[in-house]
Amino acid sequence: MSNSRKTTRILNNMKSYASKPANVITVIFFIILLATVCFPLLSLVRDAFTVHFGEIRDVGKPLGSFTLYHWHTLLFDTLYDYSILTFWRPLLNSFSMAVISCIVAVGFGGAVAWFITRSDIPGKKFLSTIFVFPYIMPSWSIAMFWENFFKNTQIVACYNQMGMLESITGICVPEWVLYGFFPCAMCLGIHYAPFAYLLIGGILRNMDANLEEAATVLKASRFKILRRITLPIVTPALISTVLLVFSSSISSYTVPAFLNKNGSFSTISTTMRSLFNTAAMQGQGFVVAIVLLIFSVVILTLNNKMTGKRKSFTTISGKSGQVSLVKLGKARKPITAVIMIISVFFAIVPLVSFALESLLEVPGDYSTISLYYWLTTDTLEDRVFGSSQGILRNPTIWSALGRSLLVSFAVALISGTFGILIGYACARKRGSKLARWVSNMAFFPYLIPAMSFGAVYLSVSFLPAFSFLRSSVLLLIIVGGIKFLPFASRSGANAMMQVSGEIEEAAFVIGVPWWKRMARILFPIQKASFISGYLLPFISCMRELSLFVLLAAPGSIITVVLQDFEVNGLTQISNGINFLIIMIVLLVQFITNKLTGASIDKGIGG
């Protein structure tokens, strides 16, 4: 074959490759994700092995040179038990906290999912609505509520403030119930229970009910069906849920940050935060970030190993509409009562408690209700960054809230749109290697703990070429956009898979251009799913703290401001801000749901 013909053929091949939008999208996103996911990861690894400005003296090497000092010090320094206190013990703490919270989340969320999908428990609609509240609230809300509820005059660490329990019953719980391991694990478990409920419930709802009926007809008992049929079939989803909850809990920053006021319980992420805040220890902070990352990668691999292969099965099929519900009989009332009470307690009572706390001039004293902390122009506290007037008069709070809304909106726009495009490309190019890479890379940020992800971008912003990003809103938008991409790309891919290619091809053959096919055919068909792909990043971003805590300038976004007030003891204001955030999130979710039918459970997409 002559050379010119060869070139022509290659050119023609490229042309036909580029003429398919799915190909172009795949290539573009491959490059974008390489830059936004892989490159920062490399930069993180580099930072764990180099000398930073503040460390020159300790390491004794010039700035930027290679060193194993961070690893050695953090992992093996025995002087004053340094590595045990700053690394091994926090790691163990985080690990056991994650295990307990997994058990609570999957046990409680899974049980509720089963009751709602498979039994004749009353009030299903109400229950499924309020049960997801704790997940919609910021992750520290339950922690904050826990503190509001259990704090008492016997405990010094909470400034001897009176909490709800004490003021109602006079009971003072011991300190270990209020701060430390137990409350952290419980709060995380309760926060992630709705998540487990959404995932497991989704699987149960989609699971072919005939599989269980077939066992009923063959005379298997209810319990046996659960043990031998239902559980094994939902096991892959169960394992995924466990692993995802585990990886989220182990790296949780906000809950331990709120419930460690007595300093007794350090976790790997609170340690990481304080390492990053110390100039001479940033390198060690990056080491911790890498360790957390390794955890996540191991978890991802485990997940793929366990759910893959021979026994993997799609559970979606058939006439699942005709589920015969288990009759709870005599147990119906007590079970309903227990589930209702717990759900309401953790869904509605926190809201009341936040509102109430923000109105008490003297914490715990319900006779001092006033709007003082909302309306005052007095300076309440000097240590707080920016101004510290009442919530509604405070320019720092208002501008931070505005910035938060802006960031969340931009993040939702980026990750939602990217998610749809990636979903489209992956669904159309199913089986191609590049598409698989893109879809894996788009999912990867999910597994990187939020704070490590922040650390990754922190290390990028330290590079001279990217120094303009440091502490900027743009950086927050990029970080958020990539971090929340997994939700959007998953729901995008799921939605696209459900639309058969023929529907698009029917428009293609009559010459409808690609953008029009997307806008006029594909988007309207899966509107609810796609909008959920925008909604979930918005909500997640609005209430996010861990991801931004290393990156955001003081006073820049509302969650950072909230934490600043909280750690300085102005709990009325932090409660008030939290109440505001939750109200905004619930309102956005409610309006979107009413207008478009989108909802966060569709976004998570079982």
């Binding site: 072919d208 007809v217 005379k219 298997a220 021979r310 058939g318 005709q322 015969s324």
Partner: protein, 369 residues
């Protein structure tokens, strides 16, 4: 023995009535097909008998046991009804091997291990799936999965076997094969079969009795040939038979106790019933099966509209003025388009329906006035 009796069984989903006041008796060792268009309530009926769906009203008896009675509040679990159920999508447990799928039901009956093993082997052999014993369902083809599902259902030797469109997911060839195997199984197992299908050919071929339903209401419950020859009403006549029956709406006037005169296809004709017809039928419909149309000779004239040869037989559609007439002739012919074609109506199986009620009034002959 397990005679199944349904009395006034009704099932509503909200306001929608899926099954309306159904009365049905299924004799022991019958092979009943529940036939009807989709959404007619046949699957719901089957699931109610099996106990997977709770009727809104009525009473169901299997053998000597009342398994459901809305008034007495009896509702026996499907596990205690001693039945087998074959699902449309097979519902094989994806996490169990073929062997485990079949053995599961026997384990629940607390059979000893060696008996379970020999029974499973027997079933594997009977359905010719021995080589798949260790495989998972996802590694089998549709037909193989189907066999596993049948083996699983038959293993505990249920006295009554319910099947919900079990062949609809198979390709045409395999479906024919499995159809004959099912019929053979019915003879071999000595059980009562209740079978749901929307395929009238399948119903005709398999059943000892067809229960035809539409919109939740029982239309006819008779042996297949009775349903075919003497459909109870227009719906049944139209639903059963392929190609469908020819219907001619006519204005009829009574001639004597058993005959009516009317104008049809451009001729004055007389319908004579096999016996006296009590009902009046001024607005009537004459129904003629395609096989009772003779081609090439006869009183009527028309032109060929289409010819559809299918090898063994040929369906010919003829245009006669405003009307279309479908005829079936044996063998393969291909008439040219627009050919002049005289045709006639033969035999004594012509049907007379009342147009308003749809009821079949009489079978008889059609002749020139």
């Amino acid at each position: 023995m397990p005679e199944i009796v349904l009395e006034h069984v009704t099932k509503c989903f909200g306001k929608f009535v899926a099954v309306d006041d159904l009365n049905l008796t299924i004799e022991d060792r019958d092979f009943i097909t529940l036939l009807g268009p989709s959404g007619c309530g046949k699957t719901t009926t089957l699931r109610m008998i099996a106990g997977l769906e709770t009727p809104t009203k009525g009473r169901i008896t299997i053998g000597d046991t009342v398994v459901f009675d809305s008034e007495e509040g009896i509702d026996i679990s499907p596990a205690k009804r001693d039945i087998g159920f074959l699902f449309q999508n097979y519902a094989l447990w994806p996490h169990m091997t073929v062997y485990d799928n079949i053995a599961f039901g026997l384990e629940n009956l607390k059979w000893p291990k060696d008996k379970i093993e020999s029974r499973v082997r027997e079933m594997l052999g009977m359905l010719r799936i021995e080589q798949f014993e260790k495989r998972y369902p996802s590694e089998l083809s549709g037909g193989q999965q189907q066999r596993v599902a049948i083996a699983r259902t038959l293993a505990p030797s249920p006295k009554v076997l319910f099947m919900d469109e079990p062949l609809s997911n198979l390709d045409a060839k395999l479906r024919l094969e499995m159809r004959s195997e099912l019929k053979r199984l019915h003879v071999d197992t000595d059980s009562t079969f209740v079978y749901v299908t929307h395929d009238q050919m399948e119903a005709m071929a398999l059943a000892t009795k067809i229960c035809l339903m539409n919109k939740g209401i029982l239309q006819q419950y008779d042996p297949p040939l009775t349903v075919y020859d003497r459909p109870a009403n227009l719906f049944v006549a139209d639903f059963v038979g392929n190609p469908t029956m020819n219907f001619f709406p006519v204005k009829a006037s009574r001639k004597d106790s058993r005959s009516f005169a009317f104008h049809m296809l451009g001729r004055d004709l007389v319908f004579t019933g096999e016996k006296d017809i009590a009902e009046e039928a001024s607005d009537a419909v004459i129904g003629v099966r395609p096989e009772f149309i003779t081609l090439g000779e006869g009183a009527f004239s028309g032109v060929v509209y289409t010819t559809l040869p299918s090898g063994m037989e040929t369906t010919v559609r003829i245009r006669a003025g405003e009307d279309f007439v479908t005829a079936v002739i044996f063998g393969s012919v291909d008439f040219s388009h627009s050919l002049e074609m005289p045709f006639g109506i033969k035999g004594n199986s012509i049907l007379l329906f009342d147009k308003a009620s749809g009821k079949m009034l009489s079978m008889g002959t059609v002749s020139e006035a």
